[in-house]
Symmetry: C2
Subunit: 149 residues, 2 copies
């Protein structure tokens, strides 16, 4: 296939819209798309530092620092100084943050399940395995697919 870009672009865009839509319907004014990604990433990482999360998302640390400040102000995220190194802040979700994140997560998964329900069971299996393969291959490609800088 010589139009790989088109395929991926369309997929990424459609998923982006799904994502925005879910975030909108869940959180409305409460949360931006980027912020929902931050919650997601804090949730799934083990006691991450600022750099851990900003790095994973490819967001500049300075922008990230400000985003975290607003999330803390909203009462969704907590910063705890690392016991062995006071420079480091461990990020975690507050109870409210977890609830919101679960809600978004549920919505996104439900929408995706809806999309997948159009496929046969066999196709679903294949599609999922394919994405897993792709993800592995991308993680393996040192040069590309990696956060900037």
């Amino acid at each position: 296939m010589d139009n790989l870009r088109g395929l991926f672009q369309l997929l990424a865009r459609n998923f982006g819209f799904l994502n925005e839509r879910c975030c909108e319907s869940c959180c409305g004014q409460e949360l931006s798309l980027t912020q929902s990604h931050i919650l997601y990433e804090i949730q799934r990482k083990h006691q991450p530092s600022m750099q851990d999360v900003s790095g994973a998302l490819g967001i500049d640390v300075t922008t990230f620092s400000r985003q975290i400040k607003t999330l803390v102000d909203k009462g969704l995220v907590k910063k705890t100084p690392h016991p062995d190194d006071n420079r480091i802040n461990i990020l975690s979700l507050t109870l409210e943050g977890q609830q919101l994140e679960n809600q978004i997560n549920g919505q996104v998964n439900a929408q995706l399940a809806g999309v997948m329900s159009q496929l046969t069971a066999f196709e679903r299996e294949t599609v999922i395995r394919s994405i897993e393969l792709l993800n592995k291959a991308m993680q393996n490609s040192g040069s590309c697919c990696v956060p900037p800088k």
Copy 2:
């Protein structure tokens, strides 16, 4: 699979990074990621109007209008009034715009080909078919996967 979101998120993020990286190495200061998507979309559509492109990308028309202005100033895009309706502006790429777009397109496709080269021929086939299936299913899901508003 109950973690569809995780799979898609990772894929979209990795492709996003690949995309940024390519745009950076091709155009450097010259072009933002959004702008590269605008070029792409103008290229592949047939004589699109402003709304056609901004709608496809899910960008607010007013923001889009300003982006187009800067692209016109850079000499990459041309606006032509529609012969039958002077309210409409047809967008097209200048020669320079086409060259730049081709360059980006080449890079992205090359990087993706690199990723795919890690898979067996059979896996590649399967992966491509899977994405096509997904894209179709997403386009079909009226509610989600659609630009906001």
